[in-house]
């Protein structure tokens, strides 16, 4: 999966790579169906005789507006199904369905049902032979439920339908997508900084694609629905309506079994055995000044700010255990994580028990002190990305973090002033970060676009950022060698930050 995504990065760039933003793309396609649906609702006549005629009018007579909008509505809905299924497959392949992610996974299951219910209902509204086929097939499916026992299908017998039926259909075709929107809101509740709108280039490219498709292959209807005659051959929209042939191939009970089993399997996936999560972040109140940076940067809204119990007017961070992903991004955001603090034992405001910032400082000092060679480089890596441990050598110190986002930017300056000639920061590519925002926040912090920022006194020539996924080890190696070569060409003391000798004082009380 990462290879496919990296391949597409070459053409779209990570920010606009559709594979990396399937959720946002899904939202965008839903917005298109909503926007186009407003116009279609305005021009639709819901009379039993008029509904098909009104659609035919704007499809053919007003093709330049109504026809294109109808096609956009249809194709955006089709694309939504594909994007949704790809999003599901991607998260499944990455194993993102258990642990702290169980909520997003479980709440995604009803979304699938609602997308299909919304889309299939739209076909009925056209009230052509395809719409009639879909309506009857759906009714036959529901009639398998003992409570219905054949009465739903009777609605589609000659003489049974009235204009009110189509008013009901319009109500459902608006109501169900609104419920879908509510379900999506629930789906992303445990995600902060949600990716619900794609990058401009991806949005424009997708819209242009749908627009060209609407011009090249306009959506047209079948013949008007006739309750006494079937249309034996149908130009089926397989994105949504594949369920009907599947039912006729098996049985209504068979389709219920397949749909139920599929949903049940998805719902049960989070219960499967999975690796135990690292201990969650912990707040150290004496070192928390209530700055809110961890609260802002947490990708999962696991940090909340509460009134400080002892300092009126101040706030204190608190971690919600069930939401915490144990990524360490909060520790990287904490200003107390700076290694320049003179305390003997560095304890930060919010820290990761599995990889405390204090231990990281000690490891860094030890490894940099042991470096030898003309160009000494400190590499900060990420356990989810390319395996940085393989880069370790006499002149290269490697510090592997649980996420690149755990790196307080001041560590880069500290490493340079502590003896390293260069600092290379690596981690997952944008959009690949297992914790969503580690790459983005780290990049912004090192570029002084986000707090805590790297000081401007750190020369850019001595810092390099290389995002490399787990399969890109050779690219990372090449980047390291290129960086080393680049450092060799620099004058020894040119723009070099002045050396820093740690002063340590024992902490009391």
């Amino acid at each position: 999966m990462q290879r496919i995504e990296s391949f597409f990065d070459a053409f779209f760039g990570a920010a606009a790579n559709p594979w990396r933003h399937l959720g946002a793309l899904g939202f965008y396609l839903l917005w298109i169906t909503f926007a186009t649906g407003v116009y279609l609702f305005i021009v639709l006549d819901t009379g039993i005789e008029e509904i098909h005629t009104s659609i035919e009018y704007y499809t053919h007579e007003q093709w330049w507006l109504g026809g294109i909008i109808r096609s956009l509505h249809r194709y955006a809905a089709d694309a939504l199904v594909l994007v949704m299924l790809l999003h599901l497959a991607r998260e499944l392949l990455y194993g993102r369905y258990n642990g702290f992610r169980w909520y997003s996974w479980i709440t995604g299951v009803p979304v699938i049902w609602l997308v299909y219910a919304s889309g299939i209902g739209g076909y009925w509204l056209v009230w052509d032979q395809l719409g009639l086929f879909s309506a009857v097939a759906s009714a036959e499916w529901f009639d398998w439920i003992p409570t219905f026992s054949g009465v739903t299908t009777r609605n589609f017998l000659p003489g049974m339908l009235t204009d009110r039926f189509f008013s009901l259909l319009v109500f459902l075709h608006i109501g169900i997508p609104l419920i879908l929107l509510l379900a999506l809101w629930v789906h992303i509740q445990r995600i902060s900084h949600s990716d619900v709108f794609p990058a401009r280039s991806l949005a424009l490219g997708t819209f242009a694609m749908l627009f060209v498709l609407a011009l090249v292959k306009p959506t047209v209807s079948h013949g008007k629905a006739d309750l006494s005659m079937l249309s034996p051959v149908l130009h089926l929209d397989w994105h949504y309506l594949f369920v009907h042939p599947l039912m006729y191939l098996t049985s209504p009970a068979g389709l219920w079994a397949m749909a139920g089993l599929f949903s049940l399997l998805l719902l049960l996936l989070p219960l499967l055995p999975h690796p135990k999560q690292q201990p969650i972040a912990s707040v150290n109140p004496p070192n928390c000044n209530g700055c809110r940076r961890c609260f802002v940067d947490c990708p999962y809204g696991a940090v909340v700010m509460l009134p400080h119990p002892d300092k009126p007017g101040h706030e204190l961070a608190r971690v919600i255990p069930e939401l915490c992903a144990s990524c360490g991004i909060c520790a990287g955001a904490c200003p107390s994580s700076t290694p320049f603090r003179s305390v003997d034992t560095l304890v930060t405001g919010i820290d990761m028990p599995a990889q405390p910032v204090g231990a990281l400082r000690e490891e860094m000092e030890r490894k940099i002190a042991a470096l030898a060679g003309p160009v000494k480089i400190a590499v900060f890596g990420c356990t989810c990305a390319a395996e940085t441990a393989r880069l370790e050598s006499a002149d290269t110190a490697v510090l592997n973090l649980m996420c690149a986002g755990l790196l307080p930017p001041s560590f880069a300056e500290y490493a340079l002033r502590g003896g390293a000639d260069g600092v290379l920061v690596t981690g997952c590519r944008e959009g690949s970060c297992a914790y969503r925002l580690g790459t983005r926040w780290t990049e912004e912090r090192l570029a002084s676009q986000r707090e805590p920022h790297l000081r401007a006194t750190v020369p850019a020539e001595h810092l390099r950022i290389v995002w490399a996924d787990s399969h890109e080890m050779s690219r990372l190696k090449a980047a390291l060698e290129d960086f080393r070569h680049s450092l060799q060409t620099l004058n020894a003391d040119e723009k070099r930050p002045r050396a820093y000798t740690p002063r340590r004082i024992a902490q009391h009380g």
Binding site: F12, Y75, T153, R154, G159, P232, H235
Partner: protein
């Protein structure tokens, strides 16, 4: 330090190719391949009704003793069984059995309508269709019978309905 990849012609060509590929997938599966719902030489017969069967027993008058035992506001002289008869259906096409079944009354007290829906694909052309139904357990034979020679066009839908208030079995 933070490098941004410049857009180059190769990227644009790649984007056009991949957007185009996605469009082809969407466009193709939005109408293709065709689905043959019914063979060209077939017609469809649908059996569908939703109606009450007759009560399972006769109505009777309560005795004075029975009435006296009831609260004054409950003293209705005539009492009928609540449960309804299931509706038995037998369909023959050209002398061969097409369907035999029973539609039981719905409801916990079996006092609701009997509902049924079945679909049968049959060859188009001339047929002798015979439908018999019984909606009363107190009658042994079928009390609704309709037999008709009819011609079904290819793709035609013929509905067999039971509308007791309109005289019985209907072919529509």
């Amino acid at each position: 330090m933070v490098s941004k990849s410049p857009v180059n012609p190769l990227m644009l060509v790649g984007q056009v190719v991949f957007y185009g590929l996605f469009a082809v997938i969407i466009g193709y599966f939005s109408t293709s391949p065709d689905y043959t719902h019914l063979e060209p030489d077939k017609a469809l017969i649908k059996l569908s009704f939703s109606t009450h069967g007759e009560p399972v027993g006769e109505c009777r008058d309560r005795t004075p003793e029975e009435l006296a035992k009831l609260a004054p506001n409950m003293r209705k002289a005539r009492v009928c069984p609540r449960e309804r008869s299931p509706i038995t259906v037998k369909i023959d096409l050209d002398g061969h059995s097409l369907f035999e079944g029973v539609a039981p009354p719905t409801g916990l007290s079996k006092d609701g309508t009997s509902n049924i829906y079945r679909r049968f694909e049959v060859p188009a052309g001339e047929h002798l269709l015979s439908v018999k139904m019984n909606d009363n357990v107190r009658i042994q034979d079928f009390n609704y019978i309709k037999e008709e020679r009819l011609t079904l066009q290819p793709a035609q839908i013929l509905v067999i309905d039971l509308r007791k208030d309109h005289g019985g079995i209907f072919f529509e």
